[in-house]
């Protein structure tokens, strides 16, 4: 339990681990640990960075879910982004971690090296500033992210309209958290006992949207904060529900998340976006109503309408098993190319690109201690 000493409150962490061990021993069957999925990439990062799997008993297994917005963008969408970036007169703006994500033919950084005007931004508002500073150029913002990030894009579009900026548009790849959860719950090859719900997404959407998880699928969900102790406490809360025969949505991250979420952000999301009929997720395939596009009122700011976007579809590389990793069917190190052909420096799959991707997090923090323990 040496890792526990590094936690903010080691005594509380020890208590949590002791309770997890006691509760899980009553629930787990031989060879069948209790399995919880942490949905959010930020949680995955915490789990690896702080060696949470090392302090958990073998009766509890964590499955790393699809909650890294960079990791779920299919290669074809990256190729489309590059095609737009290479159009004459375009300044293409993107968050830094999206620039390294490989498409079927290179990434945005390579497109920049080849002469495309690609610029990294911290905020969509920075992209709007670039548009205002360059009125003779077309500035496109590569919008990615769950409901955490989508309100920022929506506010930026509203600001662009308010200020009469006509050379700004959004290549919208915002996704929503509930449909992939449903897809995972419907997946026949996965047995889960509950979910550690995402923290930051829930600051926006609140806890209510998760009620279908216990309601329809009979699995508990606990929204959790990002510190190691938060993760441990959320596991305790899940196990308590299971041992007490309860099944509900609970909130461990009350410091930042309320049941109703952020009403202002939700209102702006509804004003600016509408649901796409379907959207392709890397590894999960097409999921109905799982992504956002600009509503017709804001069509003038939609890069997919403004530009001739090729609509490329690229099959994931055969060797890459990001799909199985995202669904939690295999662990990162069980992928054939993990750590050999696919590393953070030369990623094949998106899970290796973002620091929140399960493969990159595991590669950076976990591989030395976990491989001998967990490999089958």
């Amino acid at each position: 339990m040496k890792f526990v000493d590094e936690y903010r409150d080691p005594a509380a962490a020890r208590l949590a681990v002791a309770e997890i061990t006691a509760l899980a021993s009553r629930l787990a069957k031989p060879g069948q640990p209790v399995k919880f999925m942490e949905v959010c990439g930020g949680h995955t990062h915490t789990i690896y960075k702080h060696g949470i799997e090392n302090v958990l008993p073998p009766t509890v297994e964590l499955i790393h879910g699809p909650g890294c917005p960079v990791c779920v963008i299919p290669m074809g969408r990256v190729d489309d982004a590059i095609a737009v970036a290479k159009k004459p007169g375009v300044i293409f703006t993107s968050f830094g971690d999206m620039m390294r994500v490989p498409g079927g033919s290179g990434n945005l950084l390579e497109a920049k090296a080849q002469g495309a005007d690609v610029r990294m931004v911290y905020s969509p508002l920075d992209a709007l500033r670039i548009a205002e500073a360059n009125p003779d150029r077309e500035v496109v913002f590569f919008a990615v992210g769950f409901e955490t990030t989508a309100p920022s894009t929506a506010v930026t579009v509203l600001k662009a309209r308010e200020r009469g900026v006509t050379n700004f548009s959004v290549y919208c790849n915002h996704v929503t958290i509930v449909p992939p959860l449903k897809a995972i719950l419907e997946s026949p090859d996965l047995r889960l006992d509950g979910f550690i719900g995402p923290g930051h997404v829930s600051t926006v959407i609140g806890n209510r949207p998760y009620r279908f998880v216990p309601g329809t699928y009979g699995k508990p969900l606990v929204t959790a904060g990002f510190e190691p102790l938060d993760i441990l406490q959320s596991i305790v809360m899940l196990l308590r529900q299971l041992t007490e025969g309860r099944c509900e949505v609970e909130n461990q991250y009350t410091r930042a998340v309320s049941d109703g979420g952020n009403p202002k952000a939700l209102e702006i999301l509804a004003q600016v976006f509408e649901l796409r009929p379907h959207f392709e997720w890397r590894g999960l395939g097409f999921i109905s109503q799982s992504a956002l596009k600009l509503s017709p009122e804001f069509a003038a700011f939609d890069a997919e309408i403004r530009f001739d976007v090729p609509g490329v579809r690229v099959a994931d590389p055969k060797a890459c098993q990001c799909g199985e990793v995202l669904k939690g069917v295999i662990k990162p190190w069980e992928c054939k190319v993990f750590g050999t052909a696919c590393t953070p420096e030369t990623p094949i799959g998106t899970c290796m690109v973002s620091s929140e991707g399960a493969c990159a997090a595991y590669y950076n923090y976990g591989r030395l201690t976990k491989i001998p323990v967990k490999s089958a």
Binding site: G41, D97, M120, S123, S152, T203, V204, V257, A265, E356
Partner: protein, 128 residues
């Protein structure tokens, strides 16, 4: 990009335009506070907020802010990348030097270039 970082409001630039200056670990930057202005109790200088891609997402208390910052710092390079990007002035004009990498561009060079651009009336990023 998915990280939320805690910061303290040090100045309201414009309530109407939802613009405020926050300080994160000694680094200041303008952010948008429109999404938290409807919070109970409103929003004022001295409040702590969770910041994501230049927007205040939710109000948090001071203890949570301190704990959460201490925790994020433990993430090492992830935190450093985030705070670098937080401090980064947007590249309003393309930096002339073709050898400069986009991820390690010299910010003072960008700032100097921006200073020369007359179209840039507002300075959104403030350095301490």
């Amino acid at each position: 990009m998915c990280l939320g970082i805690p910061g303290q409001l040090v100045e309201i630039v414009s309530l109407d335009d939802h613009r405020a200056i926050v300080e994160v670990d000694g680094v200041r930057r303008e952010i948008n506070i429109g999404l938290v202005m409807g919070d109970p109790g409103g929003i004022a200088v001295g409040d702590w907020v969770l910041i994501h891609v230049g927007f205040a997402m939710t109000k948090i208390d001071e203890e949570e802010a301190a704990n959460s910052l201490a925790f994020i710092k433990l993430l090492g390079s992830v935190y450093e990348e985030e705070i670098d990007q937080f401090a980064q002035e947007p590249e309003l004009t393309l930096v002339a030097d073709p050898d400069s990498s986009p991820l390690s561009s010299d910010t003072t060079e960008i700032a100097a270039t921006n200073g020369g651009a007359s179209s840039d009336g507002q300075e959104e990023l403030v350095r301490p």
